[in-house]
């Protein structure tokens, strides 16, 4: 039974964060699994699967110097690895509009009511500070028809004054 952890980290963005974190973990026998890392605003964020024969407090000791040096906040949870169980998305929903609160809540509420599983969500705030725009891409798996999703989005497209494009994804396997 392998010991898997989810390591969550956030800190002010600067070059070298990933290199230092991964080096430190590698030196202590850590093996990295799937990861999602991104600059969000001026912050660098890390969600990282880590497999290591160490207890949580020992991992904290490995990371402590990086916390002190780079001002990284981290959090560690023991998890199940559950690798090799990818779900392929069958739609992509792209949304954009003038930034206002409630866009994500409204859009994802429509998805949740149809029992749709979000597999990947990324969003950015673009535009200028005076006129920010919100841009969001969701890839997910819908067990229902995409037309029912399309119709459930219609009222909030009006209400939130957003543009939403729903595109089916048909993965070509060859």
């Amino acid at each position: 039974m392998q010991n898997w952890y989810m390591l969550t980290m956030v800190g002010k963005d600067r070059p070298g964060i990933v290199a230092e974190v991964s080096q430190a973990l590698f030196k202590e026998g850590g093996n990295l699994g799937e990861a999602s890392m991104a600059r969000l605003g001026g912050n660098f964020t890390v969600m990282l699967m880590l497999q290591i024969d160490s207890e949580k407090n020992e991992i904290e000791k490995i990371l402590q110097p990086l916390k002190d040096k780079m001002g990284l906040f981290f959090h560690i949870d023991q998890i199940k690895g559950d690798l090799h169980q990818h779900i392929d998305p069958n739609f992509r929903l792209s949304v954009h509009g003038a930034d206002k609160s409630g866009i994500v809540a409204a859009v994802t509420d429509s998805l949740a009511k149809l029992n749709i599983n979000i597999l990947n969500l990324e969003s950015d705030v673009g535009g200028s500070p005076e006129n920010p725009i919100y841009i969001m891409h969701i890839e997910g798996f819908a067990d229902c028809s995409l037309s029912s999703l399309e119709s459930s989005l219609q009222p909030l497209i009006k209400e939130k004054e957003i543009v939403a494009h729903l595109i089916p994804i048909d993965t070509m396997v060859g």
Binding site: H84, S94, I135, M172, G174
Partner: protein
């Protein structure tokens, strides 16, 4: 008739460049029949290339007819296929029998013309688009030792609206 074993990445043999078929003889026809049977045994799969089963000759089978929403030519058995013209680009999601449990976005030509020999030994030409064109490009890549994971686009690599086929 037999179902053939699929080579799986990182098997180095998937990197081998396949050789043209010199003549469509009984051995080649028997192999094609096995290749078709192998493809038919794999649900959701729309194409297969000879090197994926360790036979390094330029033969592919593509059959998109199970997905009638995509314009297609039915079952295509293409020997020595060659793309003679291509136009436009499209980004779509691909998976591969030889790369289990992973799918990713790949940029391909949207329209292609492909020339090949059919199992009767006759020259054939097909003009195809989007999903079917993607499948043929994916399979021809196998003949050149290339895999779709050589040409992946990252998750955040394009923030523009685009078609997924």
């Amino acid at each position: 008739m037999a179902q053939l074993e699929i080579l799986v990445y990182p098997d180095e043999r998937l990197r081998q460049v396949s050789q043209p078929v010199q003549s469509v003889d009984d051995e080649i026809l028997r192999f094609i029949s096995d290749l078709e049977e192998t493809l038919d045994s794999l649900p959701g799969c729309v194409g297969i290339a000879a090197p994926q089963v360790g036979f390094f000759k330029r033969i592919i089978v593509v059959d998109v007819s199970s997905r009638p929403q995509h314009i297609n030519h039915g079952r295509l058995i293409l020997i020595n296929p060659k793309i003679t013209s291509c136009e436009g680009n499209s980004i779509g999601r691909e998976g591969c029998l030889s790369v289990p449990d992973y799918t990713g976005k790949v940029k391909r030509s949207k329209f292609i013309e492909v020339k090949a020999i059919n199992p009767l030994g006759a020259s054939v030409t097909f003009k195809m688009e989007r999903y079917e064109a993607r499948a043929v490009q994916h399979e021809i890549d196998h003949l050149d030792g290339k895999l779709f994971i050589d040409n992946l686009m990252g998750k955040r690599s394009d923030l523009k609206r685009r078609m997924e086929n």
